[in-house]
């Protein structure tokens, strides 16, 4: 459809600003409350807005793994028993009305959140009541938090991956009676950009750079003014994103499929993604795509057998999954931690020897080593045979090794537990019935959909009567969370980018498991419904250990080994994002050649990505 040439488009943006002064950013959700900048309430706020208008104390960059200073200028400083946390603040940042940001703003923010139940976005009200006893001003730009109990991760409330507690302007908010109802439309804001115009339906929103941008954290960190305007716009489906970029009406987009990305390359000559060529996309978001088992399923009681889970993993031909179903644009991971540069260094590389020596027992006394470290090389060989050039070390590009394709071993593992094949070679369950499996997949997530298809096809070829149930995101999510599946494509990471596991892994605690039919979101648990008490013990042990403590990484490594040995889920790939930008007007977006920061601009770190941009002419 896009292969025919189009006439040269003239940008028809919805706002009247010079094209060369505005950076146009795609957002995937239309926020019907564009004028409401009260990010402390639960509401459908725009995805990018928070990053360019608001400030948190710290930001965690997913590419480098480093902590970036936001409104703070020091790391969080804990006392020995983690009952106090202190922080030094920047003394050179100002609200957009010219008032200086001080410790009073931070103290006002946390005390107000603690006292106001309606200000509970991301559970801040509840968390502060649980963790913070009091907060003390120790200087104009220094604060000490007194905690109710040892809380080594208290700072995570104030450190943004996507978002965290945003600073409030005390001099304005202290005069507002009903803060949950306050829309915070007119500022002042601490970020480098201010909202100036919006579509009432929330389709687009225009921001202008502050005149004193150098008095914002992003301005100070980058020393670069960035674009004068930023226009957030929701173009909707991938087809319109492709057309918009070809018309010069969009500078960056994400959440497209591979085919749309290819169309962009054909229609927007200056467009590219993380790599300049194959495999193009960015695979550094701290998230993995996995197949999870429903341990609460009454129809698949054999999921409780480790060997059955291993059999299903070994029946998959991962090289074919990546090459035939994903066009080679994927980065493997064999455990629920993505193979980002930072996390590979913390977990994957140190565990490589253990993976290579890992053995499973096929039959009594018969051991088998399932790990195949050469799979990234096999994918690289395929890529070269297709005429692609692999940009660097195969492990860095295609991720970790994975489990060998060993259907013969899978056969023996299943037969060990009473499974059998009928005359047609199809699998029968231990009770003699045909083994039927349904793989639930989210069509909105292209990778999930692709490997869901792959798994269904491969298990079918293996002799299991497998079907694919593909749903759009909302229906998929409710089906997944209420446990109406056998196996589901899911996404998560067991650790944050710094390697800390507890803040994300805690949802697997057996105490949070709800029966099939009930929604796991009611307790904050996980859809897999795993009730292994040993997992709970790992999580309980992690709580009291500081995230930077070496023993925290050791404990997490042990937990990961336990998880992998038991094949509690089948991790497939690190998350691939075709973050695609057009260098027609702006340059300086982070790339594989210049990995200065993450290209995931909708996270809090996106403010640095934007601030670093320079007009192409200069």
């Amino acid at each position: 459809m896009f292969s025919l040439p189009s006439f040269v488009g003239v940008a028809q943006l919805p706002v009247d600003v010079p094209r060369e002064e505005v950076f146009v950013v795609d957002v995937i959700i239309t926020a019907p409350v564009p004028h409401n900048h009260n990010f402390w309430i639960t509401g459908p706020h725009p995805l990018v807005t928070h990053a360019i208008m608001m400030e948190t104390l710290w930001i965690r960059d997913q590419e480098t793994g480093e902590r970036v200073m936001g409104a703070a200028i020091s790391d969080p400083m804990y006392n020995d028993d983690f009952t106090q946390m202190s922080v030094e603040l920047r003394d050179n940042i100002y609200w957009s009305d010219g008032v200086q940001f001080t410790a009073d703003d931070l103290i006002f923010t946390v005390e107000t959140l603690k006292a106001t139940p309606g200000l509970n976005a991301r559970g801040w009200h509840a968390n502060l009541n649980k963790s913070m006893a009091s907060v003390e001003k120790t200087g104009d730009f220094s604060v000490t938090f007194h905690l109710t109990e040892p809380t080594p991760r208290f700072h995570s409330l104030l450190e943004a991956r996507w978002g965290a507690i945003y600073m409030m302007p005390k001099h304005v908010f202290e005069n507002i009676d009903d803060l949950p109802a306050y829309t915070y439309t007119d500022g002042p804001y601490l970020g480098a950009y201010l909202p100036v115009e919006e579509d009432p339906s929330g389709v687009w929103q225009l921001f202008v750079r502050r005149d004193d941008w150098e008095r914002s954290p992003a301005g100070i960190i980058t020393g670069n003014p960035g674009p004068k305007y930023i226009l957030e716009i929701n173009y909707g489906g991938p087809d319109r994103k492709v057309i918009a970029m070809s018309r010069g009406e969009l500078d960056v987009y994400y959440d497209s499929d591979f085919e749309s990305f290819q169309s962009t390359l054909e229609t927007a000559p200056a467009a590219r993604s993380w790599y300049a060529g194959f495999p193009w996309g960015y695979m550094g978001e701290v998230s993995t795509r996995e197949l999870i088992f429903n341990f609460g399923s009454e129809t698949q009681p054999w999921f409780h057998e480790k060997d059955v889970r291993w059999a299903l993993a070994l029946a998959l031909d991962i090289q074919a999954v990546v090459t035939d179903y994903m066009g080679g644009t994927a980065k493997l991971t064999n455990m629920p931690v993505p193979t980002t540069p930072a996390l590979t260094a913390i977990y994957h590389d140190p565990m490589e020897e253990w993976f290579q020596n890992l053995e499973i027992e096929i039959e009594e006394g018969v051991m088998y080593k399932p790990y195949d470290a050469t799979i990234p090389d096999q994918i690289a060989a395929w890529a070269e045979s297709e005429g692609y050039e692999v940009p660097g070390d195969t492990r860095a590009v295609f991720g970790s090794g994975w489990w060998a394709h060993a259907p013969d071993v899978a056969d023996r593992l299943l037969m060990k537990h009473g499974f059998s094949r009928d005359d047609g070679g199809n699998w029968l369950t231990p009770d003699g019935n045909p083994w039927e499996l349904e793989v639930l997949s989210d069509t909105t997530s292209v990778q999930q959909f692709h490997f869901g298809n792959a798994a269904a096809d491969m298990w079918k070829d293996f002799g299991i009567d497998t079907s694919l149930a593909a749903h759009e995101r909302t229906l998929y999510t409710s089906t997944n969370e209420t446990g109406q599946f056998d196996i589901s494509g899911d996404w998560f990471s067991f650790t944050l980018v710094d390697g800390d596991a507890w803040p994300v892994f805690n949802i697997f605690h057996p105490d949070l498991v709800v029966p099939v039919g009930e929604d796991t979101r009611t307790t904050g648990g996980h859809a897999t419904r795993l009730t292994d008490p040993k997992i709970g013990e790992f999580i309980d042990a992690m709580v009291s250990i500081g995230p930077d403590d070496p023993s925290s990484f050791e404990l997490t490594t042990e937990m990961l080994k336990y998880w992998v040995e038991n094949m509690y889920s089948i991790p497939i790939v690190a998350f691939n994002k075709f973050v695609t930008w057009d260098e027609r007007y702006w340059t300086g977006f982070p790339t594989f050649e210049n990995p200065s920061s993450m290209p995931l601009y909708w996270f809090m770190g996106g403010k640095l990505t934007f601030q670093n941009l320079k007009p192409v002419d200069s």
């Binding site: 025919l4 006439f7 706002v15 019907p32 509840a126 968390n127 579509d199 918009a244």
Partner: protein, 332 residues
């Protein structure tokens, strides 16, 4: 008095019953959906970051309270009617803290503007062209029109819309790709012209299909009327052709089409979902779609209420007006 008692009142009662039953069904159906608004809100805030499970519990309780979803379904139903009778459709659960009234207020104008205009244009064009083509079936322009519109008519709307989108936003990029207008609303020629510019392509996509439909219907009616005795008598009496066409044929063919037009206008509160989606046009259809996806009970009920009232009222009005426009069914 008899008119009121025997004609108007029964129809008014029927109108009330239709609305009551429709709204009650609309209240029940979203609650049977697997999508729960509180869980969807929790999913949204956990999209990129996990939240402490204890905090999730507190958030859930807060959201139930804020959304007014506490209490039994019956209590919620009674509260719903209390609110509706006061003109308050409640808070939007997916766009909280926006109210449903505000949510509808933002989008309904676009839908009325796009669909209302398109329906009227298509109806007028279809009736005029269809009547002429039916009355003069052997003219070259009549045959050409018929062949063209019959070719267009069976093309599924989404394909037609997508072809127009590709043709005029990509290959020949003369129309905007998204939105209902440029800039902020203002009573200036610049803004009004941008509304027309943005609405042209989606309107064209609707007008083409709807005109074809109306043309075929109108031509068939005209052909039938033309062969009726009174028209043939008028022709034999050598009455002017224009008079026969306008006052004998067209007037009679208009009756069912006026009914259809009023029902179409009543239904426009349901929105034009596909047109809005394909062309990125703001409107009530997209609002409804988002509400269904997010389990936004209040918004679903608010928009459906509007749609039910729209269609029921259009039916009522046409029922009441029919005797005025058709002497044959005039109430005696």
């Amino acid at each position: 008095m008899t008119l009121l008692k025997e004609f108007i009142l029964p129809r008014f009662v029927q109108w009330l019953i239709v609305i009551f039953v429709g709204v009650t069904i609309t209240f029940i159906i979203p609650r049977l959906s697997p999508v729960n608004p509180v869980n969807e809100a929790l999913a949204r805030v956990q999209m990129y970051q996990n939240i402490d499970p204890e905090a999730v519990q507190v958030m859930r309780a807060t959201l139930l309270d804020l959304y007014g979803l506490e209490g039994s379904v019956l209590e919620q139903y009674v509260n719903f009617w209390k609110r509706v009778l006061k003109g308050d459709l409640g808070p939007s659960l997916a766009s909280f803290p926006l109210s449903v009234n505000q949510l509808i207020g933002v989008s309904i104008g676009w839908t009325i503007g796009l669909l209302g205009t398109s329906i009227l244009i298509a109806w007028t064009l279809g009736v005029i062209l269809g009547s002429l083509a039916g009355y003069y079936p052997n003219r070259w322009w009549s045959e050409g029109l018929e062949k063209s519109l019959i070719t267009v008519y069976p093309v599924p709307y989404y394909i037609l819309a997508f072809v127009l989108l590709m043709a005029f936003t990509f290959y020949l990029p003369i129309f905007p790709l998204i939105g209902g207008a440029r800039g902020t609303a203002a009573f200036t020629w610049e803004y009004i012209s941008s509304v027309l510019h943005h609405g042209f392509l989606p309107a064209l996509s609707i007008v083409i299909g709807a005109t074809a439909h109306r043309f075929i219907m109108s031509k068939a009616l005209t052909t039938t009327e033309k062969s009726s005795d009174y028209v043939q008598y008028a022709q034999m009496a050598a009455l002017p052709e224009r008079k026969i066409l306008l006052f004998y044929v067209a007037r009679n063919t208009l009756l069912p089409q006026v009914t259809d037009l009023s029902l179409s206008l009543g239904a426009l509160f349901g929105g034009a979902l596909i047109a809005e989606f394909v062309f990125g046009y703001p409107g009530i259809g997209t609002t409804m779609y988002t509400a269904i996806n997010n389990g936004d009970y209040n918004a679903i009920m608010g928009i459906t209420l509007l749609s039910i009232v729209g269609i029921a009222t259009a039916s009522l009005l046409i029922d009441l007006m029919y005797p005025l426009i058709d002497p044959r069914v005039r109430y005696r």
